[in-house]
Amino acid sequence: MLELRPRRAPSRIMTYLSPLIAIAATMATGTLVFGALGYDGLRAVEAIFLTPLLEPQRWPDLGVKAAPLIVIALGLAIGFRANVWNIGAEGQYVMGAIAGTGIALLTHDLTGWWILPCMLLAGIVGGAAWAVLPALLKVRLQVSEILTSLMLTYVAVQVLYYLVRGPWKDPDGFNFPQTRMFSADQTLPAIAEGSLVHLGVPAALLLALCAWFLLSRSVAGYAVEVVGRAPAAARHGGFDAGRITWATMLASGGLAGLAGIVEATGPFGQLTPQFPVGYGFTAIIVAFMGRLSPPGIVFGALVLAVTYVGGEIAQSTVRLPAAAAGMFQAMLLFFLLATDVLVRYRPVLRRRG
């Protein structure tokens, strides 16, 4: 009989190994499940997890998809470390894009280098503003931020639908529900002429580096950690949990908003109803897979970006439904949470009798 025994201290090896075990378990289960559904299971898993890594022409796409995941997950991880569970990054991501697009629409007949920075700033402010209500409710009334932030996501998406179908609809757009295309001054440049990879990708890596430094070296990063691990000890040490909740909520909202406007000015170039693709939710998986640490998040974002790109490949090669990528992502989180038991417990084979 297999038995779980508590470890004396959390296993460091398992902390890093458990995401890899989860990936392996996801691949194995995926093979079986899609095999049972009548697809070529082995080829499906190969298309989703391996092809994007093996074909160099897919790499730019991986970077473009990983960048927003990194930026959002960094913000979420800061909150999660402080026990602040912002589940509404998707809404903050949309709101950031809306706020930045607002600037773009106001400035569409102007030119100047300052427009893009203004849009990015507006994106950060818009995302952070969408996190104000959950933060306020949590600090003042102890309302669970999990619920409020999640519910506000749907509000944000409805606001987007209203704007692109109503006041912000492109007057020259043949009545399609979409805004004007952004001008050259409103578009994030590519890292090189003709490349798909926009400046947001290296910026995301830079942000991860900064977050890593702040979390591991600064008093603020320490405060976040103490508040999350032991609120009473934080109070004893003179840290104000309410202030930390505000700061982490605004930071995660702001980063999600930044990711939103970067995505809007980069790959999209306008706002459409198809804009919310679930990066805000996928980033939760990324944050956990990355063990809430910035280097891990870069790795996790890459894995999840692989499933996005691979999902598209599998649609054409193995004729997997579009939802398959989402299924694999969900399985990843599922197995990750399950294998995390091994960090605190060790399996022991126990003889009966």
């Binding site: 025994r5 470890r7 004396r8 201290a9 959390p10 070296r217 600064s218 008093v219 603020a220 320490y222 950690e225 103490v226 691990r229 032991a230 009473a232 000890a233 109070r235 004893h236 040490g237 003179g238 104000d240």
Partner: protein
């Protein structure tokens, strides 16, 4: 009903060669002991000696790796607490499992293995209460009861099952001296009815007063079996810690008369609902070089007082708390620490320290206000590690180093580290709650010595403790806290134990004589 067993037939409980290991530690190593029917048997040992593990094995919470348990002569497998109760083993834990909002009767009903109709149960409870002359009203709500009365609920819960063996785990740690005396009477009466009692404690005077035999554990092994009535306290203590006991060295001469350091004046603070205790008009002062003891039964406002002094709860007025004349009542915890007011709360894990953090990270928690451990918002890792290493060396903390997790240390070692962290900042005033709670005798002596040394350097110290012996040993003056009120401080020299006991039980001695009107 249950015929008294013949004492000559054999032992009620006998363990032979019981061993139990956990990863990295042998908690019980070849332990053998025997308890006769009707005997009160002490299980004595320091924290970490293996008492708890042994008792958990007897009560079926854990299983031994090897060895044999016999109950009334028959070998038994005790797979669960339920199986233990079926054999006739009852246990009263150190921490009660009671619901504050429910009545005594409801709490007892919840703890029983079978369902008994309410009126039948009440009749049975009253019968038990009568036969042991225990005063307790089955219909009172638990939150209105004193700790001694709450303990009685747990005892009644066991007695209802007609136990043949009653295990008492550190039962007196929360009682007043009078309550202890009453508990002992009850236990002696239970024993005369033929029920054996396994009494776990590290308080030697109690064991000498109550028990007929004692098994002393050290490092998981039985080091001695003796008759405590025939031994001296000192010798038993030395057997227990395996070394000679050091007495505290106090500087000779008068320590009072230093400058006024901490003045608390009319401090009021509402308790946290629903069961917190409000502080009512608390006033006291402590001078340089002085140790003020605050005695009292648990739950009478000690926790609230500590939070009010540390700044985790703020006072209503700035003048309620003054340090060297500077008003601090409205200041936050960080400001108070920077000003020199350091506090050590009772709970080590999650309050004084973060168990999942390293010792270095825990050093930063409270030392960053007074020591240069940060620079422009960044942590100076080297300075933090150096400070942690100093604390470890100076206070003899047994650990692998500043990178060890706080949660991996034993209670006594972690407490030494926490005390060292505060004392290492040389605070003007140090307030400590239960400084030696759950700490082994050797570490306790070291901690007490450190407090005396800090006072000798000119700091003012407040010790909040439920351990009267500790307070009498350390303090120059003593107050008692009861239901959120603090009695005036009395010099410890010449203070009668009975008087403190009465104050702890809620009879206030504000007036020098009893009111004369009869």
């Amino acid at each position: 009903m249950s015929q008294p067993p013949d004492a000559t037939v054999g032992m009620r409980l006998s363990l032979s060669h019981v061993s139990k290991s956990f990863p990295g530690v042998r908690a019980n190593d070849d332990v053998s002991l025997a308890v006769r029917p009707g005997e009160i048997h002490a299980l004595l040992g320091e924290n970490g000696a293996g008492k708890s593990t042994l008792v958990k094995i007897i009560y079926g919470v854990q299983q031994a790796d090897s060895g044999e348990i016999r109950f009334d002569g028959r070998p038994v497998e005790i797979a669960s607490p339920k199986a233990a109760r079926r054999l006739g083993i009852g246990m009263v834990f150190q921490h009660f499992s009671l619901f504050d909002g429910m009545t005594v009767l409801e709490n007892i009903a919840l703890g029983l293995d079978e369902t008994v109709p309410r009126d039948v149960l009440e009749a049975r409870i009253r019968a038990v209460l009568d036969s042991y002359s225990l005063p307790l009203d089955p219909n009172r709500a638990v939150h209105t009861l004193s700790v001694g009365e709450r303990q009685r609920i747990e005892i009644v819960r066991c007695l209802l099952q007609d136990p043949k063996l009653l295990i008492m785990d550190e039962p007196t740690s929360v009682l007043t001296p009078q309550e202890v005396e009453r508990l002992f009477e009850t236990l002696r009466r239970i024993a005369t009815q033929g029920c054996s009692i396994l009494y776990i404690s590290h308080k030697l005077d109690e064991i000498r007063a109550l028990c007929e035999s004692a098994t002393i554990l050290r490092g998981g092994k039985v080091v001695a079996t003796c008759d405590p009535r025939a031994e001296t306290t000192r010798r038993m203590a030395e057997l227990m810690i395996g070394a000679e006991l050091k007495s505290i060295e106090r500087p000779a001469g008068e320590r009072r008369g230093g400058a006024l350091r901490l003045a608390v004046d009319g401090l009021d603070m509402p308790g946290e609902p629903p069961f917190g205790t409000s502080l009512k008009n608390v006033s006291f002062s402590v001078h340089a070089g002085e140790i003020l003891g605050i005695a009292g039964v648990a739950g009478n406002g000690q926790a609230e007082l500590l939070l009010a002094l540390s700044g985790e709860h703020r006072a209503a007025s700035d003048d309620a708390i003054r340090l060297d004349g500077r008003p601090l009542g409205l200041a936050d915890a960080g400001t108070r620490r920077a000003a020199g007011l350091a506090c050590v709360p009772e709970e080590r894990n999650g309050h004084a320290a973060v168990p999942g953090f390293t010792l270095a990270e825990n050093a930063l928690l409270t030392a960053r206000h007074r020591l240069p451990l940060t620079r422009s918002g960044l942590v100076r890792g080297g300075a933090v590690a150096r400070f942690a290493r100093e604390v470890i060396a100076r206070f003899d903390v047994r650990t692998t180093g500043p990178e060890a997790l706080a949660g991996s240390l034993s209670g006594g070692n972690l407490q030494k580290f926490i005390m060292g962290r505060e004392i290492g900042q040389t605070p003007e005033v140090l307030v400590v709650a239960q400084p030696t709670w759950g700490v082994d005798a050797g570490a306790a002596a070291a901690i007490r010595q450190a407090l005396v040394d800090l006072a000798a350097r000119g700091s003012a110290i407040v010790v909040i403790s439920q351990d009267l012996d500790e307070l009498l040993e350390l303090a120059d003056r003593l107050c008692v806290i009861n239901e959120g009120r603090l009695s005036p401080a009395r010099p410890v020299a010449g203070l009668a134990l009975e008087e403190i006991g009465l104050l702890m039980g809620g009879i206030h001695g504000e007036s020098p004589a009893e009111p004369a009107h009869a």
